[in-house]
């Protein structure tokens, strides 16, 4: 219908001005020199050259490492939880999933701040340990605290994603597997787990992406010295004022994320194709 089709026209302008142009600005800043206020842009690769410095490469690798560990821990905890929830009766499923998803909606700063008073040297955990004459154990400002904070913040996404794929699975396939003589273990490994992989993969993107780019969690639980790529970008824009270098780092990060998304999507397709192909006689 023509009349209503016209309704998209304002948004085409809106989208160009507020989504496309900002992206182009990041690219422009990343490839130009500082101080181009008179619109005399000087093209340069310096901002990217600057990034190939052991200090920055280290930050990059550290971010990847922390994000990967967080993702793996989220799968290891999230899968059994999602599996248990998917196998209880429907009312309990709704209730448990509501309980799992409520924390997702609570302000991330609040959720992260809550851990400071638990993990600090005189915090709740160390107070309990002191009662049994253990400790104090240093937890704040360590990798452990940062990864714990990330798992705490992003685990609900993993559970939700795996649960969704388990819950919509055709139960008849599981019954068929038992009828054909498979035991519980075989049914899980050969039927349930492969069918739930798309859920695991979308969970991986939901956890890995925020984990690799967050700067709040490392700042709160890792302390001022703890640098991940998000902190590096924040520093360049807020403290140092090196917008061109900051844009270059953001661009690199966005590229890495786009690439990993593309790869996971491909993997997802391959798995689905294989699962379908594998079932053919």
């Amino acid at each position: 219908m023509k009349v209503f089709g016209n309704l998209v026209k304002p948004y085409l302008f809106w989208m160009t001005a507020f989504i496309v142009v900002p992206m182009l600005l990041i690219v422009l800043y990343a490839f130009t020199k500082h101080g181009n206020s008179v619109m005399a842009f000087q093209f340069t690769f310096d901002n990217f050259g600057k990034f190939i410095d052991p200090v920055f490469i280290k930050v990059m690798l550290k971010s990847m490492q922390v994000a990967i560990i967080t993702t793996v821990v989220c799968i290891l905890i999230g899968y059994p939880i999602a599996y248990i929830i998917a196998n209880v009766n429907e009312r309990l499923q709704t209730l448990l999933m509501l309980l799992v998803t409520i924390p997702m909606w609570i302000n991330m700063l609040v959720r992260t701040y809550a851990w400071i008073s638990i993990l600090s040297d005189s915090g709740l955990i160390n107070s309990f340990l002191a009662m049994i004459n253990v400790g104090p154990i240093k937890m704040m400002y360590t990798d452990f605290a940062v990864i714990l904070g990330m798992v705490y913040n992003f685990l609900p996404f993993m559970i939700l994603s795996i649960y969704t794929s388990l819950a919509k699975m055709d139960r008849a396939l599981i019954h068929a597997s038992y009828d054909l003589g498979a035991n519980q273990r075989q049914t899980f490994l050969r039927v349930i787990f492969p069918l739930s992989l798309p859920g695991v993969i979308s969970g991986v993107t939901l956890v890995f992406l925020p984990a690799v780019s967050t700067f709040i969690i490392p700042k709160f639980l890792g302390g001022g010295q703890y640098m991940l790529i998000g902190n590096l970008i924040e520093n360049q824009f807020i403290t140092v004022g090196e917008w061109n270098f900051g844009s270059a780092i953001s661009l690199i990060m966005a590229m890495i994320i786009m690439l990993s998304m593309y790869l996971t999507r491909r993997m997802d397709k391959d798995i689905v194709a294989e699962a379908q192909g594998g079932n053919k006689w």
């Binding site: 219908m1 023509k2 009349v3 209503f4 089709g5 016209n6 309704l7 998209v8 304002p10 948004y11 085409l12 809106w14 989208m15 507020f18 989504i19 496309v20 142009v21 900002p22 992206m23 600005l25 990041i26 905890i77 939880i81 248990i84 929830i85 209880v88 448990l96 509501l98 409520i102 924390p103 909606w105 609570i106 302000n107 991330m108 700063l109 609040v110 701040y113 809550a114 851990w115 400071i116 008073s117 005189s122 915090g123 709740l124 107070s127 705490y152 519980q184 690799v212 780019s213 700067f215 709040i216 709160f220 998000g230 824009f237 807020i238 900051g246 844009s247 953001s250 990060m253 966005a254």
Partner: protein, 266 residues
């Protein structure tokens, strides 16, 4: 092989542990907002002093106002823009539809910090002064794609000829839109609006980069104050948690009540 009884016990234990993991930190945060001392670890009796401190603190009250006003305006504007655009998309040619949906996905798939920086660069090159206006604009810009994404599936389920039927029967296009299409997609519009509200209300990263000149929302205030332990933040956080939980409960329980109502009239 684990016996089925052991398995049930194991399941209950695991689920309980995970719920403790999720809720204990939030619970302790809330409990210590009522503590009668500065400590966040040892209990010194019940007190509401941190709440009075919160309400006497001008900066905090201002941040609460900024957050609420920005969230309400964002909700209204992005819901209207998003819904109209979604209706437009559903009636557009395929090429336009795909174009919009793909560009729309950018802010959703990109890390927040990248969206934030893009908008910061945009506002600074347009020389718009950083403040509440830039914060509001940024919130509308990042919420609208989510509203579109929420409303679109409802339109897909709609009979494509229904607006035409309304207009054949003498309705103006506006009437067909307002009296036929919008009521039919209302559930999607409402969940889009709630999504926009919670996203704006909770936003930190984007607000942090695009606002300035002393304009702070609650998240920015928590960020700047939380370097030291401060029970006023606990009080503020408790209020935030309660508001969000109430909104979520309404959203999740409303359909149940509606069903009951329908059953009652049958």
């Amino acid at each position: 092989m684990v016996g089925s009884k052991n398995r049930v016990v194991l399941s209950v234990v695991l689920i309980s542990l995970i719920l403790v993991f999720f809720y204990a930190p939030i619970a302790s945060l809330m409990v210590f907002s009522f503590n009668n001392s500065r400590s966040l670890t040892s209990w010194a009796g019940f007190s509401t002093q941190w709440y009075s401190a919160l309400f006497e603190n001008r900066e905090m009250m201002q941040a609460i106002w900024v957050t609420v006003i920005v969230a309400l305006l964002t909700t209204v504007i992005s819901t209207v823009v998003g819904t109209l655009t979604a209706i437009g998309i559903s009636k557009s040619r395929r090429i336009i539809r795909e174009l919009i949906i793909n560009v729309n996905n950018f802010p959703i798939l990109n890390p927040e910090i990248v969206t934030a920086i893009g908008l910061m660069l945009l506002f600074s090159s347009l020389q718009i002064e950083k403040g509440m206006i830039t914060m509001l604009l940024a919130h509308i810009i990042f919420s609208t794609p989510y509203v579109i994404l929420t409303v679109l599936p409802k339109l897909r389920n709609l009979d494509p000829d229904i607006a035409e039927a309304a207009m054949d029967l003498g309705a103006t296009p506006f009437q067909a839109l307002w009296k036929v299409i919008v009521p039919l997609i209302m559930p999607g519009v409402i969940s889009g609006a709630l999504l926009a509200f919670t996203m704006s209300f909770d936003d930190f990263v984007i607000s942090y980069f695009v606002s300035g000149n002393g304009v702070k929302n609650i998240s920015i205030l928590v960020y700047t104050m939380s370097k030291r332990i401060n029970p006023t933040i606990n009080a503020l956080s408790t209020i935030l948690v309660v508001i969000i939980t109430v909104v979520l409960l309404i959203v999740n329980l409303a359909p149940l009540f509606k069903k009951k109502e329908l059953r009652g009239t049958e």
